[in-house]
Amino acid sequence: MKYVAIIRQVPDGESKIKVDGGKVSLEGATLILDQMDEYAVEQIIRLKEAAGGEAVVVAFGPERTEEAMRTALAMGADRGVLITAEGYVDPITQAAALAKVLAEEAPDVVFSGGQQADWDSQALGPAVAEALGWPSVTWTTAFELDGASAKATHDLDEGAEVVKVALPAIFTAQQGLNEPRYPTLPGIMKAKKKEIKKIDAAELGVSASKVEILEQQIMELERQGKIIDGSKEPAAAAAELIRLLHEEAKVL
């Protein structure tokens, strides 16, 4: 069997964001394999380890995405395919190009992260699935292969459900699915020699982005910070808190 993880490179959530000229600037930012994609990469490596086959990472992004792809290869993926395009391209447009690569790779199972840490988008996995005419299951917390289908547990708006899905199919991953491994030193050394095939997005007939980002600004709400010291008289502090919420904030 063949397993694919669709990955992206994003700024580390722990690092500060800068805006320059009305756009987010990633200059100097620490760029990492999206933490949500780590679950996807871990899952395809586990599938390969359990049943054999090949674990391939696929991405659409700027040249620098290769660094994140090397991380996935260091974790244990076999090889990578990177569709290169500089600048912002929306997930729906990306999906058409990724679908072409996936149609050629013909995997049985595809995983990707549940939400992207830069665009806060959840669209890529379902859009690629639509482009291929495959089923998609989002927010997967448990997964097992069962012949030509897979059994997956995933979260809904309320609660969760267990589904049986005909393969090939695309699943988006979230915390709980697995515990992603750290790349080992030998893993990192091996990853340097693993193949990353690069394809220019233009060769795949990628059209212009359907969505344009006009401006971005850092958005932090001012908080009042009215903190009551309840270390000595917790009951009085709790009562005062509820009084403030009721009378001053008027939210209770």
Partner: protein
């Protein structure tokens, strides 16, 4: 035409449906055309009696094939309705399910997807939207051409008022190949999930400082008293005290309630990503230097096991007053 997907629970519309109608009406004022609705799944006919008060026409898609939600089926129904209505814009809720099927719909329609939007408007031949990005830390403005699929972030938009009496039309949608690809084997209900977390006006979240799964009984009690929902941090989920569906943060759900209680949690950046747009944030933590206090409007420095029971009693007094 503008098509608005109207989410419902089988007997009545969800709040998100009325937010979507407001957005649809706003766009209709600029680009013209009528607002038509779509109801999918069990109970669509019943809910249509309520839904038709908000739109000029409401399509229903239901029957034996439509008992269980799958992203493929819902996208197919929305596509059929969009085609039938000749829709230039489709408005959907940015719920988990809405965000799972709306990308599929956008691809089918070769449309732009404006995802999880705070607001949306049109000028000339362009549609615009604002949304958060970079883990909820950046506000951005996006532009696209028509056709467009716009998902509406919950709790961002005023609820629409009824405005007349529209028509109801059953729409027959052939499932074709999509039919048997996803089979639902089992439903798992969320414990204590009386209110959908992402739609709740009040969210009460406990962190590792709660100390045990049992201590979440107090969290549930406060949430119930306030008609709210229970949340949990990643540490709590990892400890197995609460189900995954309750996780707030980067790898969990994003909420934006009126009041957010951050109880016995430190306030890591990953957690902030899931709640930092709440209107009022209330924190209780025994550590005065916990980062959560910097992100709070009100707070108490103190032992949660002494503070929370009194909070509950005081809220009960308010309710009985």
């Amino acid at each position: 035409m503008i098509l608005t997907f109207m989410d419902h629970d089988g007997t009545k519309l969800r709040k998100s449906a009325l937010e979507s109608v407001t957005r649809a009406r706003k766009l209709a004022q600029t680009i013209g055309g009528e607002v038509v609705g779509l109801l999918v799944g069990p109970g669509a006919e019943t809910v249509a009696q309520e839904a038709k008060k908000y739109v000029t026409k409401v399509y229903t898609v239901s029957g034996p094939d439509w008992q269980n939600y799958t992203a493929e089926k819902w996208a197919l129904a929305a596509y059929a309705a969009a085609e039938a209505a000749g829709a230039k814009v489709v408005i959907t809720p940015a719920s988990r399910s809405g965000r799972s099927w709306s990308p599929r719909l956008a691809f089918k329609l070769n449309a732009a997807l404006l995802e999880d939007t705070l607001d949306s408007w049109a000028e000339g031949e362009k549609v615009f939207a604002s949304k958060y990005s970079f883990l909820n830390r950046v506000l951005e403005k996006q532009a696209a051409s028509f056709p467009a699929v716009i998902s509406v972030k919950p709790n961002t938009t005023p609820l629409a008022e009824p405005a007349g009496e529209g028509a109801v039309a059953a729409l027959s949608v052939e499932l074709g190949e999509v039919e048997n690809k996803v089979e639902v084997l089992e439903k798992i209900s969320e414990s204590g999930g009386k209110v959908a977390l992402t739609e709740a006006e009040v969210v009460v979240t406990g962190g590792r400082g709660m100390g045990s799964a049992e201590a979440f009984g107090m969290i549930e009690e406060l949430a119930d008293l306030l008609g709210g929902a229970v949340g949990a941090t990643r540490a709590v989920i990892d400890a197995g005290w609460r189900p995954y569906g309750e996780q707030i943060g980067q790898t969990g759900k994003t909420v934006q309630p009126n009041v957010y209680f951050a109880l016995a949690l430190s306030g890591a950046v990953q957690h902030q990503a899931g709640m930092n747009k709440s209107k009022v944030v209330v924190a209780v933590n025994k550590d005065p230097d916990a980062p959560v206090f910097k992100e709070s409007d009100y707070g108490v420095v103190g032992d949660i096991h002494q503070v929370l029971p009194v909070m509950i009693e005081e809220v009960k007094k308010l309710k009985n007053a």
